[in-house]
């Protein structure tokens, strides 16, 4: 039983790390700030959650505290990404040319 838990925990840790790596890669590859926020801060949500789950399997005594960390993450992560994106948009950070449509910008353009 302990053995099985250790294997599952190890696999979860590896999977979580893989998603974190992909998040880092996205940070480098994405064309503008909005897309970078998307991959850099949020594709890592699953990575961190899987890492926490892996840690919980390896150290069952920590489960409650790890759950709390995950809960905090789920509440703070979207808030910070959203505020960053809104701040970028309000200070007119240009989106990449590949961006097809920006309804928010058209709206504010009408008001001005």
């Amino acid at each position: 039983m302990t053995m099985a838990l250790e294997i599952v925990g190890g696999l979860l840790l590896v999977a979580g790390t893989a998603f974190l790596l992909l998040g880092g890669l996205g940070l480098v590859r994405m064309p503008d700030v909005y897309n970078r926020i998307q991959t850099g801060t949020k594709a890592t949500t699953l990575g961190t959650l899987l890492t926490l789950a892996g840690a919980a399997c390896l150290q069952p005594g920590w489960t409650v505290k790890l759950l709390l960390i995950g809960f905090f993450l789920l509440f703070t992560n979207p808030l910070s990404s959203q505020v960053l994106a809104r701040a970028a948009h309000r200070s007119h950070v240009a989106a990449a040319p590949v961006t097809e449509i920006d309804l928010l910008d058209e709206e504010t353009g009408e008001e001005a």
């Binding site: 992909l22 890669l25 064309p31 991959t39 949500t45 505290k65 994106a85 961006t99 097809e100 309804l103």
Partner: protein, 170 residues
């Protein structure tokens, strides 16, 4: 008592309960000194933030909403995994097939907590990021935009979460 006062008391009470739950889970103990510190701190914070939001404020406590809560958590985790895999595929693709755009979507939710959770859920699932909220309109940045049309975008981004949150918060 008038309605706003009752609302404030309910909101502060809900905040107190959530804070106490957190405190007890964090300490992993029900010793009396731990509880006393927790009660004092929670009362002070709940009093200072009596107009604020907490996850239990505005929530409905009916059997249907409990079922919807579990449905919501399940749906959310499913979407989280699905969209993470989707973004992973985009990042790994040498051609980087992004098609970003900021679309406008509409929500039927009325309560502030419901809208907050909806915006957070949209942001948490990679590929969509709530940039701005204006009343019942959300402006969502979409990495691989599939529909610029407001109704179609609403259906794809909002509808799934909304159907659960509508029962939970209204």
């Amino acid at each position: 008592m008038d309605a706003p006062t009752i609302g404030r008391i309910r909101s502060a009470g809900a905040l107190f309960v959530s804070l106490m739950l957190f405190w007890i889970m964090l300490n992993g103990s029900l010793a009396s000194d731990v509880l006393i510190v927790g009660v004092v701190a929670s009362v002070v914070i709940a009093f200072l933030h009596r107009d604020g939001l907490s996850i239990f404020a505005e929530a409905r406590f009916t059997p249907a909403s409990v079922v919807a809560t579990f449905g919501y958590i399940g749906y959310f985790l499913k979407e989280l995994v699905k969209s993470n895999l989707h973004i992973a595929a985009v990042v790994l693709d040498p051609a980087l097939p992004v098609r970003p755009g900021i679309v406008r979507v509409h929500t039927r939710l009325r309560s502030r907590t419901g809208r907050l959770l909806l915006a957070n859920s949209i942001t948490l699932t990679p590929g969509t990021l709530t940039v701005e909220m204006e009343d019942e309109w959300f402006y969502v940045h979409w990495v691989t935009m599939e529909a610029a049309d407001q109704e179609e975008a609403t259906r794809q981004i909002v509808a799934g979460f909304e159907s659960y949150l509508e029962v939970m918060y209204g």
